[in-house]
Subunit: 129 residues, 2 copies
DNA sequence: TCAAATTGCGCAATGC
DNA sequence: AGCATTGCGCAATTTG
């Protein structure tokens, strides 16, 4: 009596094995993928933190610049009030090279005019009678 | 024939089982922990992205404010300068590009005005004959 | 040296 | 039918 269909069991086993192997491969792929995603996410956190820091720095600089400009405005308004006394704008505006990066967080009124009125009395030659 | 020491094998088995169970528990804890950490990291990415957006918005607002103030200031100073002396304030204030890195994407407002006419004719004073 | 924690791996159930 | 994902247990290794 020859076995009628041994193939049933054997092939089933074979198929099972192959299937298992393939699944094991799939599992491996899936886990590698998962791990990569995790690491990538972690990296993203680092990048975002750095970017965040840069943005905050920029905000700080802009804030300083705004402060400077506002104070400059106040100063100017003050000058307008003092106009009658003879103050001139040179004192307030001649050296604006400080407007560049930072270093302008101080009050602008400190930068005293260098009296660069080359000709003579810059005060509009009022002495001319 | 009394069993000499069945305890050896049996207890070893018992011990093995207990050990396995404890490890299984540990594995479970470890995996829960790991998963939580992953989710937390992902959440951190979301938080950072939101924060980042807020910061960028803030930078944008500040930038607009700066632009406004500078233009206002230039206008005002220009007028005043024309009136009092003739100093060309463009020279002093025109460069509002000192922002930082990627500055204004807006129109550059044609920064030039290198015509520092200090030699003589301030725009006024000619009518006086 | 030991016990808990972590990690790689395979199995099976389940999702798609 | 078949790959992908996930929970679980085993065993080796790491950690404290």
């Amino acid at each position: 009596m020859p076995p009628k269909r041994k193939s049933t069991t054997d092939e089933e086993d074979d198929e099972y094995r192959r299937k298992r192997d393939r699944n094991n491969q799939a599992v491996k792929r899936s886990r590698v993928k998962s791990k990569m995603k995790t690491e990538e996410t972690q990296q993203r956190v680092n990048d975002l933190r750095l970017k965040n820091q840069l943005l905050e720095d920029k905000i700080d600089n802009q804030k300083k610049e705004l402060k400077f400009l506002k104070e400059l405005f106040i100063t100017q308004a003050q000058a307008k009030a003092d106009k009658l006394v003879g103050i001139n704008l040179n004192e307030l505006l001649q050296d604006d090279d400080n407007d560049d990066n930072d270093e302008d967080e101080g009050e602008p009124s400190k930068k005293r005019a260098k009296e660069q009125s080359k000709g003579e009395g810059s005060s509009k030659s009022r002495s001319r009678r």
